[in-house]
Point group: C2
Chain length 506, copies 2
């Protein structure tokens, strides 16, 4: 575990990182050479892993993946086994190193999003190599010694999300071993099998196996690098809590002719309630919504300022003429709490619509959280806001008696929620990893104080209290979660070097 | 056609109606006796008609209904034939009377709502007589001379909506003939076969057959009587125009973690747009929304004041603690234009929700219209309002160029719309019908200046310019449009007398 240094020393170190990367540890030239010489073999191992279908609900194949991973780990001398819970097993591995300076635990998930094979250009579990510069033409897998263009891409489910880091990590072990470079850290591997299905059982499994999970740092090897293709690191993520709000009108849909102007319309009431929650610039108007936010430190603020600008390009990509937040950049806005409508539902619209006053109207919203705001707390503020608009709030369907008594009734149900996670970017272990990645890629990585989304990092942070750092390696344009998911080969080659650098940090 | 009288005379007549019903025409005692003596035969004929399935899309059976109706009309000496268009045929009949004082045209529809047989206590097309006072026990159909309780109910699709008036009209002809009472009006019958499917082809069919449709008055024999079970008449209905509004966000759903606080949320924008359209009391805030409304006359206002109060009971029935309109009564509110949200749709809610920023959000609204406001006009005001909120409005999906140029884009598509219809309650023909119904039921009917809903009345009014009066006969608690639709027998017996009285007005 890391020991805190006096603030002045920390600040000096931070300056050093920003001005000039600390170059430390063994040179990576021979790792690069190893990768160059073994591209065919690396792709072959990757191809085999990607050929096993990995949707979490496919219980037979998900276990085939798990057993394959145990085998792959053991092949590298890692002591591997399955941690069983109520869902797919976790593949857990340990590699002890004599004289290790620290212990690094690495999280990856081996399951992938469901596939709609009809929308793919190849079977999602028949990995296919293609040349984007040549209209996506299919290429034969290379034999040892063949030319391999780093811009070629490998198409398969989980080619990026999230089997690529598994290959990168294991091949880094091979490269280091072949080059004679000793590891400087004990390693732990935690490969989850149901992240894309919501990590429903992760929390419990982590708690049950808490004793196995000590380390100096947890690395979350998931997500893409920055759009500029620069290596990136993230140090936290927003939490989230969802709520479903139902507003009630008459106890059955009523004819809008016979009762329109008289029977209150729950869809209109819901519209007014939702409209009361945000101003036109996206600022949330719920009392206390931003209270307690742990402010970003100077280090984090500078990191945001230093992030390569991408807003204009994203607006063009998504067809947006304007964004919320009065023009403030995305990187800054996603470090703040948010309130978002996920969906609306009341009766029918368009050709299916009937001219009725609906009996009820429902919205689901999600609220993203940052450090300093707990899920229950934000939910309580939401409910207080709804009450302030005159509503009686209940978790249940209102009874007939309630309907006759209270003009305004809102049913609010909620998800359990995820906490936010954040690791200080100026912790010694953080600086060491920044330095290692800088060494691997030859320039400082893009430092992202926190992801806007929610990751299992929060579960590990809550359970262990240990620093969590995200080390993504795949290309951002990988069609993650969609059809034709792919990995750009250069990202894999670079990823191997990144993990090799981390495993051999001074 | 009616000739207008000087205002002072009209007013005097109106007072007479309100203070004491004008009793005129032949006595109805022998009609009542005829009905009493023929209850078994009447129910038998009704049973046969209800046994033919009548969903408009069931083209074979809908024609079986039409042919059966032609046969039933011809049996009464009515010259009957089918008017063919692109949908189910209209059954059209004419009965000329020597020395007739006027011509009365009667509209009914013979199709019914689709059925979900699994939710019925009996096959919806196997008419079943039941005793509500005995737990809905099934009763045998009576034979001539058997006791028949007027509170018994006949269960079948269209038992109320809208085959009951057909039987009442035809049995009124039989009763009058048997009693030796001459008709005082030529009669025209217009039985539509796709009202419950939206009367899609009615407009065209009416225009094509305009020459057949002259009359002194059109009677719309559809809808239920007042909940107090008092006979009722209505003199118009609201029009309606619907619009579907889609608001755009990013061109694909985006991860709410990675982009929440930055990418604008179209569901939130839609909520704000909708919220801008009405105040908390249901008053529409769209500029000019109420401009041009032809105010109700004193007669109509008095009629509304005189309507039996029902708001409290309706609120209890529908589980409402409060209504829109600051406590003003339903009867008054439905004579005004309204704006209603029919449905909302954006991505998913509840367990299906994903934490994303949706790419679009859609609402369908309907606007009910009154005389003085045309569908196109109200639609133009809606669009002007949306523009005033900063939106560029288009009928098409926005192009990529539009998305990149305009922050706020709304796609608005609309239905063709129905106009409102209203017949003055103090027209001589109106007074005559009020008087006839008063005579039949022994007390003045509930006079409803206009229904909140939209009916084919507007199509006939637009095409012919003739007065339109609604004469409902069925019980309000008939489960119209739903499962276990039924008719209370007393309503049928009363309905026969009502039509007999109208057919023999002085």
């Amino acid at each position: 575990m890391s020991v805190a240094r006096p603030a002045v020393v920390r600040f000096a170190c931070f300056l050093a990182i920003c001005v000039l990367p600390i170059s430390a540890g063994m040179p990576l030239d021979d790792v690069r050479q190893y990768v160059h010489d073994h591209r065919a073999e690396i792709l072959q191992e990757f191809r085999e892993l990607l050929s096993i279908p990995n949707v979490a609900s496919d219980t037979v194949n998900i276990r085939r993946n798990a057993h394959k991973l145990v085998e792959m780990l053991e092949h590298r001398g890692v002591k591997a086994r399955l941690l069983e819970g109520d869902g797919p097993p976790v593949v857990f591995g340990e590699l002890s190193v004599a004289g290790a300076k620290r212990t690094i635990a690495i999280y990856v998930h081996y399951d992938g999003q469901p596939v709609d094979a009809s929308k793919w250009n190849n079977d999602p579990f028949s990995p296919t190599l293609r040349d984007p510069a040549n209209g996506g033409a299919v290429l034969p897998f290379p034999k040892p010694g063949d030319r391999v263009d780093p811009e070629w891409r490998l198409f398969a489910r989980s080619a990026s999300d999230d089997k690529a880091p598994i290959i990168a990590i294991l091949q880094a072990l091979d490269a280091l071993k072949a080059s004679g470079h000793p590891l400087t850290a004990n390693l732990k591997f935690f490969f989850e099998g149901e992240e894309e299905a919501g990590s429903t059982h992760l929390d419990k499994l982590v708690m049950q196996n808490r004793a196995l999970l000590d380390a100096d740092v947890w690395i979350c090897a998931d997500g893409p690098v920055h759009q500029t293709r620069r290596q990136s690191l993230y140090f936290g993520c927003r939490g989230v809590v969802s709520a479903t709000i139902t507003i009630y009108g008459p106890d059955r849909p009523l004819h809008s002719g016979h009762y329109g102007n008289w029977a209150p319309n729950p869809a209109m009431r819901l519209a007014k309630l939702l409209a009361s929650m945000k101003d036109d610039n996206g600022r949330v108007l719920i009392a206390g919504f931003y209270d307690g936010v742990e402010p970003l430190g100077e280090v984090e603020k500078k990191a945001i300022r230093d992030m390569p600008p991408s807003d204009t390009e994203l607006m063009r990509e998504y067809g947006l003429a304007e964004t919320d937040g009065r023009g403030r950049p995305l990187a800054e806005l996603i470090t703040e709490p948010s309130l978002n409508i996920d969906g609306l539902r009341s009766e029918y619209v368009g050709p299916e619509a009937r001219t009725i006053i609906p009996a009820e109207a429902t919205a689901t919203i999600d609220m993203r959280l940052v450090k300093g705001i707990e899920p229950e707390q934000q939910l309580a503020r939401l409910i207080a806001h709804i009450k302030k608009q005159g509503y009686v709030v209940s978790e249940q369907e209102p009874s007939r008696e309630m309907r006759l008594k209270y003009p305004l009734i809102a049913r609010v149900t909620s998800s359990q929620g995820y906490k936010a996670s954040r690791t200080r970017m100026d912790l010694p272990i953080a600086r060491e990893i920044i330095s290692a990645v800088t060494r691997a890629s030859g320039r400082p990585p893009v430092l992202i104080p926190m992801l806007g989304g929610s990751t299992p990092m929060a579960i590990f942070e809550s359970a262990t209290g240990l620093p969590q750092i995200g080390v993504p390696i795949v290309n951002h344009d990988n069609n993650q979660h969609s059809s034709n998911e792919n990995l750009r080969l250069q990202n894999l080659w670079d990823g191997i070097e990144v993990f090799a650098a981390i495993m051999t940090m001074d």
